[in-house]
Amino acid sequence: MSGEDTRVAIVTGAASGIGAAISALLAERGWRVAGLDLERSETELPLQVDVADRDALREAVDRVVGELGSVSLLVTAAGMYEMVPVAEIDTDRWRRMLAVHLGGVVNACWAVLPGMLATGSGLIVTISSELALAGGSGDAHYAAAKGAIIGFTRSLAIELASLGVRVNSVAPGPTDTPLLAADSPWRAPDYLETLPLRRLVRPEEVAQTVALLVEEGGYFTGQTLSPNAGAVI
């Protein structure tokens, strides 16, 4: 796979939930992981940065390259979630949602791609959401932002396919992470009964899907893989 030589990975949103699970699994598989997050992550090189801040993110990526070496894997898991009826999504909320999700992905790609293109190899995995595929009530801004990530992923994949960089997305279903509050409707038994698997997705299952793409997914690019407990089929 790409990055056998360096095996340096950047994971955004690495401090908790899906990002933390991905970071832990990659470290277990021999990757040197830099975790970029607003909070301090449990990774080899934790850097506290807002992914929506393009300059700050670029500085952080430069620091990773300086300390660990060139980056051959980027996983964008940074995110936020809130359910808001569409009439109550004010401009600030809308912009913040897009800035963190779509902006966070784009900023990270801008920062890591020059290095990947210089070596002619690399892998980018964006974490999107089943809500980008099927939508959900109160999720207009979240679904729009995550949907934009999938469109971006597909286009970047085609643009970079002949240059040795693969780009895929993982669209998890409702996952058992701190992003889902204890009283979240996604945790309610009535909702879980609607899932064919009858349970939330485990963060480790999302991480395993990323690991598949990293280790044996060389024929995937532009794809969206959906470990979603059957939420969207």
């Binding site: 598949l212 997914g217 995937f220």
Partner: protein, 254 residues
């Protein structure tokens, strides 16, 4: 390599060559005992059986009675079935209006009905093991369609719909059903394509690779790795999904 299939029992259809051979080899390498299905006995089936330490499971999957007998033999010999991989396929291409009706239906009988017969026969055995995994090999043609492949594409899109429906139906009892819709793969089918096109096997591979965004044809081992993922705990959150390893050839969601 991890050994995620210790004490697991697998039945792989169409395992005498190509993708099925690679899938059988991978599952066996990770510890599974594998039943190697093919349409008829042959030296190449014997070779796969020998290589994997498995058993031969001969049946034409389009013959429901033969499938029932074969699955019963597999369950009796191996002791059960945990993983079923429906990989067999028949493909013939012709302009729709010219396609011989019997041959047209042969695509559907083998690919779609054959998979139904296999799953119907294996389900009781999988249930007796307390759950399991089913992986169906569909095709990129079943996602985006293909000129002169109405029968094959229809059968493969039927498999996609079967996967989604059975995914919903069987997940609550611990049986995950998922599919793989590969793009162009380096299998013996390419030699058939080369003969049809009147060019060398190398030339057909070069042409196909040039049409794939990442610039190469898929390797059977890559499909085998994906089957293994979907059939083990790592893929436990996948239900009714259509995965599409195709080198970027299409980004349509199936």
């Amino acid at each position: 390599m991890e050994r995620r299939f210790e004490n697991k029992l697998a039945l792989v259809s169409g395992a005498g060559q190509g993708l099925g051979h690679a899938i059988a080899r991978r599952l066996a390498a990770e510890g599974a005992r594998v039943a190697v299905n093919d349409r008829e006995p042959s030296p190449r089936v014997d070779a796969v059986v020998a290589e994997t330490g498995g058993i031969a499971a001969i049946a034409d999957v389009s013959d429901p009675d033969a499938v029932t007998r074969m699955v019963a033999d597999v369950e009796a010999t191996l002791g059960g079935i945990d993983v079923l991989v429906a990989n067999h396929a028949y493909m013939s291409m012709a302009p729709f209006i010219d396609h011989d009706p019997d041959d047209w239906w042969r695509n559907v009988d083998v690919n779609l009905s054959g998979t139904f017969f296999l799953i119907r026969a294996a389900l009781p055995a999988i249930r007796r093991r307390g759950g399991g995994r089913i992986v169906i090999i569909a095709s990129e043609f079943g996602v985006v369609g293909w000129a002169n492949a109405t029968a094959y594409a229809a059968s493969k899109t039927g498999l996609i719909s079967l996967t989604k429906t059975l995914g919903r139906e069987l997940a609550p009892e611990g049986i995950a059903v998922n599919a793989i819709a590969p793009g162009i793969m380096d299998t013996p089918q390419l030699d058939v394509d080369a003969a049809d096109a009147g060019v060398s096997p190398e030339e057909i591979r070069r042409r196909y690779a040039g049409e794939i965004p990442i610039g190469r044809i898929g390797r059977p081992e890559e499909i085998a790795a994906l089957v293994a993922f979907l059939a083990c705990d790592a893929g436990g959150a996948f239900v009714g999904q259509i995965t599409q390893p195709n080198g970027g050839a299409t980004r349509n969601l199936a």
